[in-house]
């Protein structure tokens, strides 16, 4: 018998066999990902949350004697050029040389753009003579020109100028509150009621034009209508005049309340009291009052319209536009995507053609979003919209109604962009419904459609919801295509209001994502916009998270309905 050498096996498995290095690699990759996301969220949250907190105002006396005052925002170290260093005292030159040529500098938000043509100023450490925090300095937020940093010199509260001790703070605050009330009333009159009258006049004119287009300008109908419209217009004009007179009276009243502000250098600036949105003595603000300013700034941000090229005021129209567009997109994409996937998975013969369609759908998800924007503009706005205008709104031409970007076209464009996600997710959810329950249903005498409707779809619903959530998240964060199909920097009217037909799908709208881009990179003063970028980003993330949380909650409810273990 030939002896066989036994196969000797290593009894102890080595580290590689356990996959140890891979486990570290996988864990490491996850950790890096989590850290990146956590860091990003932390950065956005911290900057977003802290932006509105009122800081102190520093009064800086430079070495050459000039005075400036402002809110310190951030500091950095930089390498001053030789020419700059030439003018500094020798001991500073030595210190900077000891620091490898680096000096630090501080950015102050000095405001007073109308006086100095700048909002911010860098102050290098070697320029500083002394820094103090005078109690009488105040931070004024204004309707125009951005903030003012300085003090109140005198005020006219309707009864002649008051100065010094005669000017009580309580009286000033009260007069200010009334002035703001008046300001809002004027705005409501001019924007709201006069706007309504204007809209009605426009509607009358359009009706007349429609009659002219339909019956001819010389026809009996047109002439009769023209007479009526003329009478209506006269009545409306009278209403308009009355409202305008009321607004003018209010404005005249408003003119009597004024404050004169002075900056640290004594330059004066006279303001209408109503043009100050908020003012506070930054250096003698208690934590409680600070919280008040903080919350009131958040309130303004969330519920007001933007001012000053979007760098101030609120973002309510953008919040509203984002939410409306996303919801409309989901409403459009859900049935479309689900029905398509149903046909692909349940009815179409699984062959080469279906495979090609499926691959194409998957590839659609990879098309750059701006391409969808171009398509949306070219197809929806310029083709479909233009045809709608011709058919239904001929009297408004040449100014387009649906023939340009708007809420509806933006939503449909995004629906198109996200439909592959929904199709793929729905197909997977449908495929995951086991054959056994389908056969059980068919064996009960259910038709294919009844089986799909009563058994397959309910069971696939959570999976379909997951697809919709992904689509929603993608759609809500998309900006590039929107710039082509309806998002604007400043929309005068919300897409939903009290005017018939209440939903105005043709209107252009504002969007938080575009707002970020606009404030951060398109505004006059990107330094002033920077904090707003963070706040708006925080808001956008919160909004998307909220919408997703709602969808996930709904999905959990659906899942619980079919809960229970298999055995």
């Amino acid at each position: 018998m030939a002896s066989v050498t036994p196969l000797r096996r290593e009894r102890r498995a080595d580290l590689r066999a356990y996959g140890e290095p891979w486990r570290f690699a996988m864990g490491g990759a996850l950790a890096v990902g989590v850290l990146l996301i956590a860091g990003f969220l932390l950065l956005v949250a911290w900057n977003g949350v802290s932006t509105f907190w009122p800081g102190p105002i520093a009064q800086v006396t430079l070495a050459d004697g000039t005075l400036l005052a402002g809110e310190p925002t951030r500091s950095e170290s930089y390498r001053p050029s030789q020419e700059l260093l030439a003018g500094t005292p020798p001991e500073w030159r030595e210190r900077i040389a000891a620091q490898d040529g680096f000096a630090s500098r501080q950015l102050y938000r000095t405001g007073n753009y109308d006086l100095y043509n700048e909002d911010f100023r860098w102050v290098s450490e070697y320029e500083v003579g002394s820094v103090s925090y005078p109690a009488e300095l105040q931070f004024f937020e204004r309707v125009e020109w951005g903030p003012f940093v300085g003090r109140i010199l005198r005020a006219d509260l309707g009864g002649g100028p008051l100065e010094g001790a005669a000017l009580e703070e309580g009286a000033l605050r009260e007069a200010h509150a009334r002035a703001r009330e008046r300001w809002r009333e004027i705005r409501r009159l001019e924007r709201g009621e006069i706007g309504d009258v204007n809209r009605e006049m426009e509607a009358e004119r359009l009706a007349l034009r429609r009659a002219a287009l339909r019956f001819g300008p010389e026809s009996e109908e047109h002439r009769a209508l023209a007479l009526r419209v003329e009478a209506d217009l006269a009545a409306l004009q009278a209403q308009y005049d009355a409202l305008a007179a009321r607004a003018a009276a209010l404005r005249a009243e408003d003119q009597r309340f004024r404050v004169t502000l002075a900056d640290v250098n004594g330059r004066e600036k006279e303001q209408l009291l109503s043009d100050l949105t908020r003012f506070y003595p930054a250096n003698r603000l208690s934590a409680w009052d600070g919280l008040g300013v903080y919350l009131s700034r958040w309130g303004e941000f969330l519920t007001d319209e933007p001012r000053e090229a979007n760098t101030e005021g609120g973002v309510l129209p953008a919040i509203f536009g984002t939410a409306a567009m996303t919801l409309l997109m989901v409403v459009a994409v859900a049935p479309f995507g689900v029905v398509t996937a149903l046909y692909l998975r349940e009815y179409a013969r699984q062959g080469r053609l279906v495979s090609i369609v499926r691959i194409s759908v998957n590839n659609l998800a990879g098309v750059p979003s701006i391409v969808y924007g171009v398509f949306g503009l070219g197809f929806f706005a310029y083709t479909v919209g233009a045809r709608i205008d011709e058919l239904f709104y001929p009297e408004r031409l040449p100014s387009p109604t649906f023939g340009t970007g708007g809420l509806l076209w933006a939503s449909l464009t995004l629906a198109l962009l996200t439909v592959p996600v929904v199709i793929v997710a729905t197909e997977e959810a449908l495929a995951a419904v086991p054959r056994s329950v389908r056969e059980g249903s068919l064996a009960c005498g259910a038709s294919k459609w009844q089986t799909i409707r009563r058994i397959v779809l309910p069971q696939a619903l959570p999976g379909i919801m997951t697809g919709l959530i992904l689509a929603m998240a993608r759609g809500a964060g998309e900006v590039a295509p929107l710039m082509l199909v309806g998002v604007v920097k400043l929309a005068p009217e919300l897409p939903v209001d009290g005017v018939f037909p209440f939903l105005h799908f043709e209107r252009s709208f504002m969007h938080l994502g575009f707002h970020i881009y606009d404030v951060g990179f398109q505004s006059r003063n990107s330094e002033a916009g920077k904090p707003m970028v963070y706040v708006t980003t925080l808001l956008l993330i919160t909004l998307i998270a909220l919408m997703n949380a709602t969808a996930i909650f709904v999905r959990a409810r659906l899942k619980r309905r079919f809960a229970g273990s298999q055995f």
């Binding site: 059980g440 005498g445 069971q459």
Partner: protein, 272 residues
């Protein structure tokens, strides 16, 4: 040592069945079936007796499940399926032109290998065949649910939780629920495709008791791998091999005194 057992399989089928009082329910005549090129059934001729329990036995791949699924045309879902021959239910050809497959399936209940309750309440599971027919009468639905659950011996266990999810039941309960669902539509025939293969012995014996109770009310055709089970529950047994019907006769005789050697070999466990 091995004997050459390559007997020809084209020996004629041996018939010696118990005749039911109602005559023939399902009349299968020279029925052949192909999955694409592969032939799964070869000229099967089988008369299923009305009101009796008939077992289909045979080794894996012999075509017994295929035959069962061919009876309510479950195989229609498969691409490339082709059939020849006839299957008649009470004289009506199931594979004739213009047959309404859905109406046909309503005359047959089917119970599958693994319990397949729908992800809905126990009540909705049972009345599903009625829901499909558009029945909305609450009284009728409740009555049917109770009758079917009682018939499937599940009523006492679930009567207090009819509106809880059916997925919370045990495997054996789920299978009895599926039986209740299958008989809720009041079919003529009950097709059972290895109904106990996923169940433990206790649940199995309950299903077998249930089959004994349902005997007489429905024509029952049951596919099983378990020969003791076939011996216990059925009146007639059909033994299939390689797509052919080899022997079809009274259960006692198929197991104790089969006519053909091949049947003898299978039931005594010499192959299979």
């Amino acid at each position: 040592m091995s004997e050459a057992r390559q007997e020809p399989v084209d020996e004629g089928t041996a018939y010696h069945i118990v005749e039911g009082q109602g005559g023939t329910s399902l009349d299968i005549e020279k029925f052949s079936l192909w999955y694409g090129e592969a032939r799964a059934l070869r000229e099967v001729t089988l008369r299923v007796q009305k009101g009796l329990v008939t077992s289909l036995i045979g080794p894996s791949g012999c075509g017994k499940s295929t035959l069962l699924r061919a009876l309510n045309r479950m195989n229609d879902l498969i691409d490339g399926l082709r059939t020849e021959g006839h299957v008649r239910l009470e004289g009506e050809d199931l594979y004739g032109p213009g047959v309404d497959v859905i109406a046909l399936r309503k005359r047959m209940g089917m119970v599958f290998q693994k319990p397949n309750p729908f992800p809905m309440s126990i009540f909705e599971n049972v009345v599903y065949p009625l829901r499909v027919d558009g029945v909305r009468d609450r009284g009728l639905l409740a009555q049917t649910a109770e009758r079917s659950l009682q018939a499937s011996a599940l009523w006492d266990e679930v009567k207090d939780r009819l509106h809880e999810s059916a997925l919370g039941l045990s495997g054996g309960q789920q299978q009895r629920l599926c039986i209740a669902r299958a008989i809720a539509g009041d079919p003529d025939v009950l097709l059972m495709d290895e109904p106990c293969s996923a169940l433990d012995p206790i649940a199995t014996s309950r299903i077998e008791e249930l089959i004994a109770e349902l005997r007489g009310r429905y024509t029952i055709l049951i596919v099983t791998h378990n020969m003791q089970q076939a011996a216990r529950v059925s009146d007639n047994t059909a033994f299939m091999y390689l797509g052919r019907l080899i022997e079809y006769g009274e259960t006692q005789r198929v197991f104790l005194a089969p006519k053909l050697q091949r049947t003898q070999d299978y039931v005594t466990g010499r192959f299979g």
